[in-house]
């Protein structure tokens, strides 16, 4: 049974695209056949984060409008043979996406993949509502910061009102992915804690991704963090989150990199 997952947040810059790439790669590494779909028409970035920007020929809109076949637009990842990318269009307008077109593409993807991860654009407009429209599961990405939490609350309201599952009265499965978490600042009372955010948003927690320099290094070189450095704290956190998405019951923890004093001083390298 294939699963359609939307990665959404309302607010921009919280880590939707990074999380889509990381969860997609982690699920693919676990043996699932995965497609990551960029819904950010006009501002596509998933191709960059996945390191496939020079291989884009056709895109989501071409397929939705019937100008290209799905297999022509899908880009196979060079590192993981069962990971595919369906890029967004960079030149077209957001209005070029129609609900019927998206439904057709999603249904076709359903037949071919175990898992389809839709990277939603920021905002609450058409692009975001279309990305979530046919989803079975929503991953709400939030930073422990007031504007992000407020926007997540708004997106949760939209998920409960505008998705097909919600309209059918089944309700949609929602999970919180807390990114850019700094346990040190939380301990010093400078940052909202996991408990604070969970109490406010009251949806189940999928994972806590620690704020970590390695995430930027991974995007610099166009590799999902779990492929770039599987041992680093955020990669381990994304791997845990991906397992939880598959129903594995893992205890929640905040991963951290234990650096030796020597590495702290001399271990820095340019990337």
């Amino acid at each position: 049974m294939s699963k359609i997952i939307v990665v959404t947040s309302g607010k921009g810059g919280v880590g939707k695209t990074t999380s889509t790439g990381a969860l997609g790669a982690a699920l693919a590494q676990q043996g699932q056949k995965v497609a990551v779909v960029d819904f950010d028409v006009g501002l596509r970035n998933l191709d960059l984060v996945m390191g496939a920007e020079r291989r884009v020929v056709y895109d989501l809109i071409n397929v939705a409008q019937g100008d290209a076949k799905l297999h022509q637009a899908l880009i196979r990842d060079k590192r993981l043979p069962n990971l595919f990318l369906l890029p967004a269009s960079q030149t077209r307008d957001k209005d070029a996406l129609t609900e019927e077109g998206v439904e057709r593409v999603i249904n076709e993807l359903r037949g071919r993949f175990d898992c389809v991860i839709c990277d939603s654009p920021a905002g609450i407009e058409r692009g975001a509502t279309l990305a979530m429209r046919f989803a079975d599961v929503a991953v709400v990405v939030a930073n422990p910061e007031i504007s992000s939490v407020r926007d997540s609350d708004r997106i949760i309201g939209l998920l409960d009102a505008k998705t097909v599952h919600a309209e059918n009265g089944e309700g949609i499965e929602k999970h919180l992915l807390l990114t850019r978490y700094d346990a040190g600042r939380v301990a010093r009372g400078e940052m909202l804690s996991v408990e604070d955010v969970l109490e406010i948003l009251s949806i189940p927690l999928l994972g806590i991704i620690p704020d970590n320099e390695e995430v930027l290094r991974a995007s610099n070189v166009g590799a999902p963090i779990v492929l770039h450095n599987a041992a680093c704290a955020p990669a381990r956190a994304y791997n845990d989150a991906a397992q939880r998405l598959c129903g594995v019951d893992l205890p929640m923890c905040i991963h951290s990199d234990q650096k030796s004093l020597f590495r702290k001083f001399f271990g820095r390298r340019a990337a």
């Binding site: 910061e145 007031i146 939490v149 407020r150 609350d153 708004r154 309201g157 939380v186 010093r188 009372g189 400078e190 940052m191 909202l192 804690s193 604070d196 406010i200």
Partner: protein, 97 residues
Amino acid sequence: MNLLSFLGRRATAPVARERLQILLAHERKSACNSDLIAILHKEVLNAVSKHIAIDPDKVDVSMHRRDLISMLEIDIAIEPSVVDDKFRERAALVGRF
């Protein structure tokens, strides 16, 4: 930053938490009420349109909430001619009795 200001720094996360809780309690309530507004909007218009013709584009509904009172405001623009006709009808009826 000197040592004194470092020691004197207060935790800001609880402030963020409290602000969010108040704000979201308010926003969630208004989200639920938007349905109520839609229902009131429709029913009030139905009631009014039984008596006079109204242009749906010239109706403005809004809800204001203050600490103690909530106010539903419905502005319906009515063409002067419609009012005059109704007034004349009424006057004729009254004149008959």
